[in-house]
């Protein structure tokens, strides 16, 4: 039983947490792809940038000396999302819109976004150096422990407050996005443009406005994901650059352009990664006596060593591209 709880803490909670981050990132990638038809490589760095915006705001708020019941980094996140949405609009206006106006091909935009990646990373390093920052210098990080009322169970279910807040805010973001896409006029216009851009134009849909709304949503969600990731681990200039590959894998897995697919893809990737690095011998140990003599449980029995967990995303990506290049969720609307 203790081992099962260990499994739950490590693999299930870990998978949900990682999946939430991937889902929030992949939604932005997939929306941008659906509307503008290019792979926005700088998305990971927009997440990191969002984390740093929250960090600065949190520093300002902490200076006020008010005590908050929640992490300050979380309290400021709505404001950081607003700023990040504005910056995303600025990045589009400054770098991508002029290229689109000249009829640039998607590959040109992709390369431009690699340039934006370097620019954001450079700017962050310029102002914050290469160090690692924590949101919890002025506040303790709260850990939740749930003791289970069973005999012989000593290990509690445990997770941190930032992890809980991450999952809650992901649920809120996904539900809000769902209502936006299926109920609001602009959200439907966005789906229409992703479905058939020429017909959207012919229908008189204000495509420029749709593009702006896309950046606002993608920028805000990237900021949310980056901040929550930084709250869960720590903040550093390459925070999200390292996870841009699984985020793209999640978006492709869900079928590029399909928002719900990207969310599902994010959780599939999150679980695949945590299950692949999980030490399965923990679960085998209780059965030690029932196993055949010759079978000795190794100390670590995981599919992939955790240093190589990025390969999980790679393998999934390659298999999906070979077997179902349109993604596993193709056919669902949006």
């Amino acid at each position: 039983m203790n081992d099962l709880i260990f499994f739950f803490n490590q693999a299930i909670i870990g998978g949900v947490v990682l999946g939430s981050i991937y889902a929030l990132g992949a939604v932005g990638v997939t929306l941008i792809f659906g509307i503008l038809r290019f792979a926005h490589f700088a998305h990971g760095d927009m997440m990191t940038l969002g984390g740093f915006i929250s960090f600065v705001l949190a520093g300002i708020v902490a200076g006020l000396g008010i005590a908050f019941p929640l992490p300050i980094g979380f309290i400021v996140v709505p404001f950081a999302m607003l700023i990040a949405a504005g910056l995303a609009l600025g990045i589009d206006k400054g770098f991508y819109a002029p290229l689109r106006a000249r009829g640039a091909k998607p590959v040109t935009l992709l390369i431009a976004s690699i340039g934006v990646t370097m620019m954001i990373q450079g700017l962050i390093r310029l102002f914050f150096g290469v160090g690692t920052y924590s949101f919890f210098d002025t506040q303790p990080k709260v850990l939740h422990r749930i003791e289970l009322p069973f005999e012989g169970v000593t290990r509690p279910i445990s997770f941190s407050e930032p992890q809980l807040l991450l999952v809650i805010s992901t649920i809120i973001a996904v539900v809000a996005l769902h209502y936006f896409l299926t109920r609001s006029r602009l959200g439907k216009g966005m789906r229409a443009m992703a479905d058939n851009p020429d017909l959207a134009k012919v229908s008189g849909i204000n495509t420029k406005l749709v593009v702006r709304v896309t950046w606002i949503i993608a920028g805000a969600l990237a900021c949310l994901a980056g901040t929550m990731l930084a709250l869960d681990v720590s903040l550093k200039p390459d925070l999200a650059f390292n996870i841009v590959l699984p985020i793209f894998a999640a978006a492709i897995l869900g079928g590029l352009g399909h928002a719900y697919g990207a969310i599902a893809g994010g959780f599939v990737l999150g679980f695949a990664e945590t299950l692949a690095v999980f030490n399965w011998s923990v679960l085998l140990r209780p059965f030690r006596d029932n196993l055949p003599e010759w079978f000795e449980i190794p100390n670590t029995l995981s599919l992939v060593q955790s240093e190589y967990k990025l390969t999980v995303a790679f393998v999934i990506l390659v298999v999906v591209l070979l077997v179902r290049p349109t993604g596993i969720f193709k056919g669902a609307s949006t």
Partner: protein, 234 residues
């Protein structure tokens, strides 16, 4: 003054013009039908009116205003609607959502127009929650027309609305076109089923090589032996 007036339009997709001087005038009471061989520039004419390609020379006047250089997002609010030849529905969206997208530019209550469209195409009402991509070709064409009507146009442009449809659906579409026109909406349509369409056209245009070859009432074109021989298959 006509609802729409094309004077000597030269237009194309790149540097070389596809249209070499097209002239057309349509009133709100008219059903204009454009016929002509494949590649004559029929679709190109409609796209030029709708601001989807580069007009190099000539002027387009719609509802008393020069619209030569205006793009679709300006033209739709002025009362122009267009049903393209292909890919003319949002396949992943429901029938109902397709119609809503046609009314995107409107900020007033659209329920009255929705009812009218559903009354016009009862098939669609039954399928309103279904993705348009799952419908038959004829039903898709109805969705496409319904979508274009949702903006309450003064002029409805249709590119081969009967292409690939069974005679039953073709007749239904044509009947609706006549009804829409009777309600005060000008029609400008391209048709391959030229004889059937010219039969109810008040104005007919034969295009070939990007130019007008014959212009007259639908009946005049049908009666003209040259037109019949060269363009209507004898």
């Amino acid at each position: 003054m006509s609802l729409i007036d094309l004077k000597d339009i030269k237009a194309g997709y790149g540097a070389t013009p596809i249209l070499n001087g097209v002239n057309m005038a349509i009133d709100a009471s008219d059903i204009g039908v454009i016929v002509g061989p494949n590649g004559a520039g029929k679709s190109t004419t409609l796209k030029a009116i709708f601001g989807l390609l580069n007009v190099m020379d000539g002027t387009i006047t719609f509802d008393g205003r020069d619209t030569t250089r205006l793009e679709a997002d300006r033209l739709v609010p002025m009362g122009l609607s267009f049903v393209p030849q292909e890919h003319n529905v949002f396949t992943s969206m429901t029938v109902h959502e397709n119609l809503e997208m046609g009314a995107f530019i409107r900020r007033d209550d659209i329920s009255g127009t929705l009812d009218e469209v559903y009354e016009m195409f009862p098939d669609l009402k039954a399928k309103r929650r279904q993705p348009a991509g799952e419908l038959s070709g004829g039903q898709r064409q109805m969705v496409a027309m319904g979508r274009a009507l949702m903006s309450k146009p003064k002029l409805l442009m249709l590119d081969e609305p009967s292409a690939g449809l069974s005679p039953r659906y073709m007749m239904e579409i044509f009947e609706q076109v006549v009804k829409i026109n009777a309600a005060g909406v000008g029609i400008l349509m391209v048709e391959q089923n030229a004889r059937q369409a010219l039969a109810f056209a008040t104005k007919g245009f034969v295009l070939a090589n990007g130019q007008n070859r014959f212009t007259g009432t639908g009946q005049e074109l049908l009666d003209d032996p040259d037109v019949a021989k060269s363009f209507l298959g004898g």
